[in-house]
């Protein structure tokens, strides 16, 4: 029986959709914790990134720490956090907290960098025009810079979301819940159906998340900008440009 068939057989078994280890519950766990991490990461990354982009100060430190965060191996992040979180709470601190910390640490850099690039990349003429019209700094930020930076920021959040899903699967190694558990538990029991069923679920979630963010990006992009975007549908990728810097 091919792997695909085994996976589909596993997925279609109604027993797997019930109970605390069932798919709906695990999916809920996964989305809840991933969502929470994304929210926290956005809060941190967005606020720092926007501030740096707007004021233009401390750019090097920010970019360097973002680079550091991006290079950080996720497993190492989770593993390092664990002894500390276990000391705080032996129960949740064993798998849940360290994985959340890992997710946040890896999600902040793309959001931060993109927020910075997005805000800093706004045409200076527009900003000057705003100042000329008498806008105060906060108004400038909210009425001019942020709306124009949205496509780039959304791209960063999309990148962060994908990172988070990948990291949460790693957390399953240490006992973290969510869909990654099917892969780990399936491996422990050599149940190919479970492993690949889990793979389909996680990959599906990752792709669905990415598509959701693509949609969100389009929605949030002010109409004027949307009209400007090149026909090839290429999204702004400031990460690459900054990487080349």
């Amino acid at each position: 029986m091919s792997l695909l068939n085994q996976a589909l057989a596993w997925l279609s078994d109604p027993a797997h959709w019930q109970g605390s280890v069932g798919i709906p519950n695990r999916l809920f766990e996964h989305v809840l914790l991933a969502g929470a991490s994304l929210a926290i990461a956005t809060l941190i990354g967005l606020s720092i990134g926007v501030w740096i982009g707007h004021t233009g100060r401390h750019t090097t430190i920010a970019i360097n720490s973002a680079n550091f965060g991006r290079a950080l191996p996720s497993l190492a992040a989770i593993a390092i956090a664990q002894p500390f979180t276990v000391a705080i709470d032996p129960d949740l601190g064993f798998a849940v907290y360290p994985t959340i910390i890992g997710m946040i640490v890896l999600a902040v850099p793309p959001i931060l960098v993109n927020a910075y690039a997005g805000v800093a990349g706004v045409d200076r003429d527009l900003v000057e025009a705003g100042r000329g019209m008498g806008m105060r700094e906060r108004q400038l930020l909210t009425s001019v810079e942020l709306p124009l930076a949205v496509p780039v920021i959304a791209a960063g959040m999309r990148s962060a979301a994908v990172q988070i899903i990948a990291t949460s699967t790693l957390g399953a190694i240490f006992g973290f819940g969510g869909l990654g558990r099917y892969v780990i538990d399936g491996y422990a029991r050599q149940d190919n159906g479970q492993i690949w069923g889990g793979v389909i679920l996680v990959a599906g979630l990752a792709i669905a998340t990415e598509l959701a963010f693509v949609l969100l990006q389009r929605r949030l992009t002010p109409r004027g900008l949307r009209l400007q975007q090149p026909r090839s549908g290429a999204e702004p990728e400031p990460e690459r440009e900054l990487a080349a810097a």
Binding site: Q6, V21, R189, Q190
Partner: protein
């Protein structure tokens, strides 16, 4: 949206490819060439150099040793490995610690490894699950004592000799030989802290049935499919009335390893599935709940060796090396060595070498 169309196209391509691949174990794997960094491929530190002893000529085949992931299994594998090296064999250790029994058994089956330490009782239960001869005695059998009698040699018992013979019978068709079993026994141990035992008056496993919802369980990651643990119709469910709900709700942790011990110590679980040779039980004065329904079999250690490896060696001397090592090991010593690994944090190869020297098996 172009993007969705492309993703859909990509997905269908992948689905087509995977539908055509036959998956599952046993597909011909590439012969495991070990990772080849510039330094030697064997475990660093403590490994005695594999000098052939005396006799030149007579190519000895490479022994591929493997084991489950928990430290005791790795220790036994390392002991066998070093004993063989001392006897002039070349040993590859790629398979040591590759995962749970399911994984290591699959590796043995597919000749990724050709030697691994096994526990004859649990091993019998494991192989009986998938052996067609034992299909009648499958977990579907009811919990009542008057269930259809299992075909002889499919259920592990408290008789070590019987277990060993039964295991051999099942493995004969797979081309695997069970060598002489050791006096050392390591079986599933369900353990609670002293305070939990006092609070709920727990002395034996049957005592837990009534209070199972009140205590927090910690079970091995493969417990749900292990007949000696939480599989449907298995020890916990049929003999002790532990519900599927309890088993699903348990914290899954690596069997016979530190995390389970830590969780029990930290009180994140109240009942943990440990191994009887884990030294932490005695150290913390924990209560090993008596297996009053005798679900845990005589679980002596024995090496499993592939017949095709035995065919290539001088069977008598090869088996003697392994049997001598097994014979010298006993439960108390195993527990003591485990303590060195888990308390003193000594390296497994170092502990193995020291024991082999102390027992006179190796100079």
């Amino acid at each position: 949206m172009r993007q969705t169309r492309m993703l859909a196209l990509g997905a269908s391509v992948l689905a087509l490819i995977s539908a055509c691949t036959t998956g599952g174990g046993g597909a011909s794997p590439s012969t495991g060439t070990t990772v080849a960094p510039p330094t030697s491929a064997s475990q660093p530190s403590g490994t005695p150099a594999g000098q052939p002893s005396g006799t030149p000529g007579g190519q000895k085949p490479t022994v591929k040793v493997g084991s489950d992931g928990f430290y005791e299994a790795k220790l036994m594998a390392e002991i066998y490995a070093q004993a063989l090296e001392n006897g002039g064999y070349t040993v590859e250790r790629t398979g040591i610690g590759i995962g749970t029994r399911s994984v290591s058994a699959a590796a043995l089956d597919s000749n990724q490894i050709n030697l691994k330490p096994e526990y004859i009782g649990s091993g019998l239960g494991f192989y009986a699950k998938t052996d067609p001869k034992c299909a009648v005695a499958s977990p579907a059998a009811s919990a009542s004592a008057a269930a259809a009698p299992a075909p002889a040699g499919c259920t592990p018992t408290g008789d070590a000799t019987a277990n060993s013979a039964a295991l051999q019978a099942l493995l004969a068709s797979k081309g695997i030989t069970v060598l002489t079993y050791s006096p050392a026994v390591d079986t599933n141990a369900f353990v609670v802290r002293q305070d939990t035992a006092t609070q709920y008056s727990l002395a034996k496993m049957s005592d837990t049935t009534a209070v199972q919802d009140k205590i927090k369980w910690g079970l091995a990651t493969d417990c749900a499919t292990n007949a000696l643990c939480g599989a449907p119709g298995g020890a916990l469910q049929s003999a002790y009335g532990i519900t599927q709900k309890t088993i699903d709700g348990a914290k899954p942790l690596s069997a016979c390893d530190q995390p389970m011990v830590d969780a029990l110590k930290a009180k994140t679980i109240d009942l943990g599935e440990l191994c009887s040779t884990q030294p932490d039980i005695a150290k913390n004065s924990w209560v090993l709940l008596a297996d009053d329904k005798s679900t845990q079999p005589a679980d002596n250690l024995a090496p499993l060796v592939r017949d095709d490896l035995l065919a290539q060696v001088d069977k008598t001397s090869f088996e003697k090396i392994l049997n001598d090592a097994s014979a010298k090991m006993d439960t108390a010593t195993l527990t003591k060595l485990n303590a060195q690994i888990t308390f003193d944090k000594k390296d497994i190869p170092v502990v193995a070498t020291q024991w082999l020297k102390d027992s006179g098996l190796v100079k």
